[in-house]
């Protein structure tokens, strides 16, 4: 079946590597994706905290477009995933809001586009067995700490992604492609998210703790599934070095980049050159690259 594909704004900018690696992995696994026609920004936190109708309307506009392609829409960005799934929830619980949102978005839509994160696509749609069978270069000996952050797992009752305090889905993907799963306490800690620009200090404090925990538990790399998390964990290592004086130097890869490596895709197909902290040395040392 063809899945509708909603990349979201970050994947056209700072998270181009997430976009390229998601598409490359789906091609390699024979999963057809078709971009949602005329998709627009999901609104994310700024719209969510400004106006309920605005954020729900942006959600239904995108979901209605997705529905014209498929009844399942794949979303790699955890923030967009959270927002689109929340919009489905909001219109199912608040009929007055639904009517207004459909009117503002100039669409008809009945909540019937199922929103899937790319991890759910791998685990629940493609299936771990099929993924395992497609592995050409297992990530043997590479210790991966899966970082879920906030938006994938919370609020648990709406996301229904996994357990909100100890999720396992991303770890299962890591195990399926042959990586060593790191058991660590930072999985669902918040990276500071949208405070990155107005209040960088909150992000530095959070990221410093998360990376300290990952390394203390033996991680070689951290796997992420959100552009906001990736940028905060990767790029902000520069500020942490300058302002806190700690040099973490730990690569932060999108889960799709790790899966792609195991499927035998090249570093350039997975856009590994876009990572700020270079992943090549550790991947070479472990024989993954």
């Amino acid at each position: 079946m063809t899945y509708a594909y909603y990349p979201g704004c970050s994947l056209e900018g700072t998270a181009g590597d997430y976009n390229e690696s998601t598409q490359a992995v789906c091609r390699a696994l024979g999963v057809p994706l078709k971009e949602v026609p005329d998709w627009v920004c999901c609104g994310t936190t700024p719209a969510h905290e400004t106006n309920q109708l605005l954020v729900t309307s942006l959600g239904v506009k995108n979901l209605a477009s997705a529905r014209s392609v498929s009844d399942k829409v794949v979303v790699p960005c955890a923030a967009c995933y959270n927002r689109l799934k929340s919009a489905n929830y909001e219109i199912s619980h608040d009929k007055a809001l639904k009517a207004k949102a459909l009117n503002a978005a100039e669409v008809s839509y009945d909540g019937d586009a199922q929103v899937l994160h790319v991890i759910e696509l791998l685990v629940r749609e493609i299936g771990l067995e099929k993924l395992k069978a497609a592995v050409k270069k297992p990530l043997k000996g590479l210790a991966v700490a899966s970082y879920y952050g906030c938006l994938l797992v919370r609020p648990e009752r709406i996301m229904k992604f996994d357990d909100a305090e100890d999720p396992q889905t991303m770890d299962q993907v890591v195990a399926a492609v042959g990586g060593d799963v790191v058991d660590w306490p930072g999985k669902v800690d918040c990276c500071g998210a949208s405070a990155a620009i107005p209040h960088t200090e909150t992000v530095l404090k959070q990221v410093n703790q998360i990376l300290t925990d990952a390394k203390a538990c033996g991680a070689d790399v951290v796997a992420v599934a959100c552009p906001l998390c990736q940028n905060n964990l990767d790029l902000r290592q520069l500020d942490i070095r300058k302002k806190i004086g700690k040099d973490h130097n730990i690569p932060i890869l999108y889960i799709t980049q790790l899966v792609g490596l195991a499927l035998g895709l090249s570093a350039s197909e997975l856009a590994l050159q876009k990572l700020v902290v270079d992943a090549t040395p550790v991947l070479k040392a472990k024989g993954v690259l």
Partner: protein, 191 residues
């Protein structure tokens, strides 16, 4: 320090409005902020608590005692990053993150200037950008935010690095922008 009167006039209506919104946000959560017993667990796990003059448990307390106006003017509600850790962990199932967001929406409805100028300017610059193009154009967002907030060189060292990594698009992509502008207008003007 200002002495606050308990349950000032009009406060009951505010509390009711907050509880009613919590009910639509999540019918399974606590029906009322009254159920909070001030254990402090929400604040213990909050990544932004150290930046707030009233951390999450105190915001809930302010609402309980009818001091909604004080909460609306606090910095704390704007430092909250909506991570939902508090609501996930509350033993009384209080939807604290929902209260935080309800207070932000109330402050906007009542024309109360957000006490945290930076976070507000960033979010408004973001929305203007989306309203213009339909999609976010990251370089312009940072540029406009830096200009308005007068933090002209904030993250200036990141630009060349991101450009060399091919992480910054040079031109905005616009998508369905006429309809998005109508959507913004209708949504923001709706009563």
């Amino acid at each position: 320090m200002e002495i606050l009167a308990l349950n000032p006039p009009g406060s009951e209506k505010d509390i009711e409005a907050i509880n009613a919104r919590l009910e639509t946000l999540d019918p399974d959560a606590a029906k009322s902020v009254e159920t909070c017993y001030q254990c402090g667990k929400c604040t213990a796990g909050c990544p932004a608590a150290d930046q707030m003059e009233f951390p999450p448990n105190q915001i809930i307390r302010l609402v309980q005692i009818g001091q909604v106006n004080v909460a609306l003017k606090s910095v704390g509600i704007w430092r909250c990053v909506s991570c939902e850790t508090c609501s996930t962990r509350c033993p009384q199932k209080v939807n604290i993150a929902g209260v935080m967001n309800t207070l932000r929406l109330m402050a906007r409805e009542r024309g109360i200037q957000p006490a945290d100028r930076e976070a507000d300017m960033f979010h408004q610059a973001f929305l203007q950008n989306v309203r213009m193009f339909g999609r976010l154009f990251e370089p312009m967002l940072v540029g406009i935010y830096n200009m308005r907030s007068m933090h002209l060189f904030h993250d200036a060292d990141k630009g060349p690095l991101l450009l060399s990594k091919g992480k910054l698009p040079l031109f905005p992509t616009s998508s369905d922008s006429a309809r998005v502008r109508r959507l913004f207008k209708k949504a923001l003007e709706s009563k």
